[in-house]
Symmetry: C2
Subunit: 299 residues, 2 copies
């Protein structure tokens, strides 16, 4: 089976097209790597790139991206609404096909070591690659931002995993790690009541007693329906169908039912196939039953 890992590096530039193009070209030139998406955000002055490829190609592509960002982005000149501490601010690796979380942790550490060694950039490992539990969360690592780095890097509990102790003058520092694919998923309810959406969101939200790996809030959709807006951060352990069925059950106490749902961005095939297998009660379910998966195995 072709090994595939996804990476979603965020760079601290969302305004200068020539810088975004230089960073995109750096990853695009690597064989076996596909640049799926580029999302610049002017207000945040930040761009999210989505790449996918086999592990070796991806390593080459991400290092080329760091080199391009180093050459074109100076954090001393950077302003924007989004918190940031480096020119490549954060870079997660995500197992997609024929690869494990351990493969992604290993890739994150290899890339981190190279970034520190080649360009003297301090690197923090986060999420599944974190070296301590207080360093798993991106927001905690990034607190203080670029401007606070000189002080933060001298704290014993914030020594970087690679490089340091001084930040890179123009680049700052960077956060590299491994995590599961994130699915942004909204369920619309057949009511205009925001209160119902908030109550249902609270019931399914993992942090307050709901489903693990689910972040949820109640909002109003643009067409006036109450909406449970969610991030599903591990659809392997907490599958989409379980979330959908719990939302249905919690909404029922208000006499409300889902009127539809929306996938925002991209969803791994497996997350949807698992839901088909659940509802169709397939007893011999195996992703190898899917014709196209047999083709990919042979590519």
């Amino acid at each position: 089976m072709t090994q595939l890992i996804e990476s979603v590096p965020n760079i601290s530039e969302g305004r200068r097209p020539e810088v975004i193009a230089a960073c995109a070209d750096a990853v695009r030139s690597v064989p076996g790597v596909t640049l799926l998406d580029i999302k610049p955000d002017e207000a945040h002055n930040r761009t999210v790139l989505t790449l996918i490829g086999h592990p070796e190609g991806l390593q080459t592509a991400i290092l080329a991206l760091y080199e391009a960002a180093l050459a074109t982005i100076d954090l001393r000149q950077h302003t924007g609404e989004h918190p940031r501490m480096g020119a490549v601010d954060v870079c997660p690796f995500i197992p997609i096909r024929g690869t494990t979380m351990a493969d992604c942790v290993s890739l994150a550490k290899q890339v981190a070591a190279s970034v520190a060694e080649r360009w003297q950039i301090p690197v923090f490992l986060y999420e599944e690659a974190a070296s301590a539990s207080h360093r798993r969360n991106l927001a905690d690592i990034r607190r203080g931002e670029f401007e606070g780095l000189p002080a933060k890097l001298h704290l014993p509990e914030w020594q970087p995993d690679f490089g340091g102790p001084a930040p890179h003058a123009s680049f700052g520092a960077t956060v590299i790690g491994a995590r599961e694919a994130l699915v942004a998923y909204n369920i619309n309810l057949n009511t205009g009541s925001l209160a119902v959406a908030k109550a249902v969101a609270k019931a399914v939200r993992g942090a307050v007693g709901g489903l693990a790996h689910v972040k949820a809030m109640g909002v109003m959709s643009s067409d006036g329906r109450a909406q449970v807006s969610m991030n599903l951060v591990n659809t392997g352990k907490t599958p989409i169908y379980r979330v959908f069925e719990l939302v249905r059950a919690e909404a029922a106490r208000f006499g409300v039912t889902p009127s539809g749902s929306e996938i925002i961005g991209l969803v791994p095939q497996q997350a949807l196939l698992d839901s088909a297998a659940y509802y169709l009660q397939i007893e011999n379910w195996d992703p190898a039953l899917v014709l196209e998966n047999r083709v990919l195995e042979h590519v």
Copy 2:
């Protein structure tokens, strides 16, 4: 998007391993074509090959298969339980990804013309490629089998579409065409009553008032459950979830419910994704939302 067509040629040899190997090697050697499966059947003295590839590669592979079968199979020596009229008995083309039924009809006609021209083998076009409605059905074309060919080929309504009028002395004649992917799908019921399975099968069977594109019969599964055993011959028009929900509804009148289902063989990704989208009520459903599909587009 990578163009993919499937082909499922049936050859009239299921006993001599060296002949089956020669036919498999002929298709395996073609770049861009994957031999997914080889299913020899001794009693039928027949082997089903499953291939997938881009249209040009597939054309080359299928012609190589005809050449290998012509060199190794003599229908005058062939006996077996399955009806047959040629060394390659039947060869359908099936649109899988980035290809239409029209592409498959076109490919079928090109292959048919080459087979007739190169080796003087009479070819009938069937299903979506058929030249007349009485020639759509494989069983009608094959009636009389190899032994009846000399007489049949002289009937005005059974002139071959390419080649003829005489059958090839050792090869016989062949049937080439285009059809939708077939999904073999069984739903098990939480009852041991064969009568219930037969009643539910009758209710969903297209030919007697049920769902179009569904062939169904009631049988007993090997573990003693009543089973609705089906061939879904067009899951684009009659999707799996609709079949499952109708079986559920028809079983309910007997106080019976599905206890599970089974996919036999391979299923196109789209057939399962459509079911996930139905049950999850995805409003913005589009196969391009699936991460892996974006990768395939770039391959």
